[in-house]
């Protein structure tokens, strides 16, 4: 068969098939709904993972190092003392601000707050910071109220935390143990996990939790991303301290990975099960579509059309159903879930992270790909069946 003739045949049969979809709309809608459901659920679930990842890793930088006690996996199992911080001040590659080295030792504790809506207790990070901590987070901004004053029992609350937990509005008081803290401001950091936290003065937090002169973690701004290797080597080689450093990007990616993997695995299990149902719906639709046109297909073949254009046309029709389903499912999940705010525990820090679902273009591409795969599987057997059908037998049907 010459290519031109083949293409013309494919065009003709496909065009005819597509023009008759409306006449078969009832059964076609079943397939489209099935595929739309799968794509919608897939995109929604994975948008949760994407949103979580974006929050946890979004503000991480290559030129910032996260320093923990050697062997610690997170702030909660790390302790840094004054000598450790002094070594960091003098370490090579550390950037300097107007007030000295950009090293931010931070204390990290967990307090209980109730989740808005659920009413259940959740772990919320309370972080002690000082001047360098603000200098390191260039996008830090007070959006309501004011910053805390050093030396006073005052806190500021991240925008995500304020929206996710009860009693964290400006003017509220937080009672933890014997201490009572006043919420004096609400801040943003241009996104990132910090917005799920409550911040206060390092010294006050050390006193309240009887931590003496110790911290859990230090953030260090380096001169540039390339300075990291020298900085890390200097820490490793210094016999006075036992510290480990990671790039902030690496550290935060590792922090987000467990929950991201969990959401993705659970999501894909659901998607695979739903996909099986959608494939059957597509198969049913395409078998019905082919069956209702068996005499017309036989007529075309009697007139000289070949088998392959019949297969191609049925496959194209099924793929069109896939595309329509993908568009419907993707649009539905975008309207319903993009920006939907939620909070979940970050297993790496045992604290809550507030995040928004993110329906990304990559997810929509993945959803469309899945829909096309379902369409292809659903269309293949009916297409082959239509092409293999006896022309003479099909022409006898009334």
């Amino acid at each position: 068969m010459r290519l031109g003739s083949f293409i013309r045949q494919c065009q003709a049969v496909t065009r005819y098939n597509l023009e008759t979809i409306w006449e078969r709309r009832a059964v076609s809608v079943v397939a489209i709904f099935g595929i739309a459901g799968v794509v919608g659920v897939m995109v929604a679930v994975l948008s949760m993972a994407a949103g979580f990842r974006a929050v946890v890793t979004g503000q991480a930088r290559d030129d910032v190092a996260v320093v923990l006690r050697s062997g610690a996996t997170g702030a909660s199992d790390s302790i840094l003392n004054h000598q450790d911080i002094q070594v960091l001040w003098e370490a090579p590659g550390v950037a300097r601000g107007p007030d000295g080295p950009l090293v931010s030792p931070e204390l990290f504790v967990i307090i209980d707050r109730k989740k808005i809506g659920a009413g259940t207790d959740a772990n919320v990070p309370l972080r002690g910071v000082e001047a360098a901590g603000f200098a390191l987070r260039e996008q830090f901004e007070i959006v309501e109220g004011r910053n805390f004053e050093p030396g006073r029992n005052e806190v500021i609350v991240g925008d995500g935390a304020a929206g996710a937990f009860e009693g964290l509005q400006v003017g509220d008081r937080i009672d933890v143990g014997r201490a009572s803290w006043e919420v004096v401001g609400r801040f943003t950091t241009g996104g990132g996990v910090a917005e799920s936290e409550i911040w206060t003065d390092n010294r006050i937090l050390q006193q309240m939790y009887q931590r003496g002169n110790s911290w859990n973690v230090a953030l260090v701004r380096l001169r540039d991303a390339e300075a990291f290797e020298g900085f890390e080597a200097a820490l490793t080689d210094d016999p006075r301290v036992s510290l480990g450093a990671q790039r902030q990007t690496t550290h935060m990616a590792a922090q987000s990975e467990p929950i991201e993997v969990f959401i993705s695995v659970v999501g894909w299990i659901i998607v695979v099960m739903m996909s099986a149902g959608a494939v059957f719906a597509a198969l049913n639709t395409m078998y019905a579509a082919v069956s209702s046109r068996s005499r017309e297909i036989a007529t075309l073949r009697a007139l000289g059309f070949s088998r392959l254009p019949v297969v191609v046309s049925v496959m194209i029709e099924s793929l069109v159903f896939g595309l329509i389903g993908a568009a419907a499912g993707g649009a539905a999940s975008w309207f319903l879930f993009d920006g939907f705010r939620a909070a979940t525990i970050n297993w790496a820090s045992f604290s809550q992270v507030a995040f928004a679902f993110q329906v990304t273009p990559e997810l929509l591409v993945q959803g469309t790909t899945l829909a096309l795969v379902i369409g292809a599987i659903g269309g293949f057997l009916p297409a082959v069946g239509a092409a293999r059908r006896s022309v003479v037998g099909a022409l006898r049907e009334q």
């Binding site: 003739s5 013309r8 005819y16 007139l303 059309f305 022409l395």
Partner: protein
Amino acid sequence: MSEADPAGTAAGNGAAAEAMVDVRGVSRTFHRGRTPVPVLRDLSLRMEKGEFLALMGPSGSGKSTLLNLIAGLDRPTGGEVIVGGSAIHRLSERKLAGWRARNVGFVFQFSNLLGALSAERNVAVPLLLTSFSARERRRRVDIALEIVGLSARGKHRPRELSGGEQQRVGIARALVNDPALLVCDEPTGDLDRTTSAEILDLLVALNRDHGKTILMVTHDPVAAERASRTLHLEDGRLAECGHDGTIEVPVHEPAGAAV
């Protein structure tokens, strides 16, 4: 295809110098489960160019099977089928499809039009297998619809046409590629008496005025009367029929003898 003779070179019933169809010792056996069911056995038939042949016989006698073999829709279990000089029993399925597109016009009992397409787009379907320009296709569709008297109904869909009009569109579709052979499987089987007569008038005109060789399977003796020759197929044997319906001469006895 010229304007004056749009369906092909004119030739009347008398043009019979060369065989259009030459079926030699053909057999066709189907299988019901593992049981072979022979429908045609060692059957031969010859049709001259420009002939209008009616094929009659009881249900299950193999009329449509023979028509399908001649039209290249089916393959014989044994024997040879030569149509227009081509030994079509030797062609691959792909080549056979191409051969059908160029050489055979099909007229079905139920017209078999594509319901979603207008009459003119239905007529144009076989032209999609050709390399004609859009303008040439348009011209051929117009001519074919003119021949069947439906120029004014080209934009209508099949469900907007009467049964007779649908069958006329089917005949226009069969003509549009200007094939030498028209095969008609019960073309009036689904029509009332008056409409049947109109369709038969049209087929006779195509045979007489446009030189089309026509093979028509029918149950209807009135329809068969319009053909120039009628054959009766029963028990795997062909016999010549008189126009009064009586079977006059066995046309295939013994094996290998051609009509």
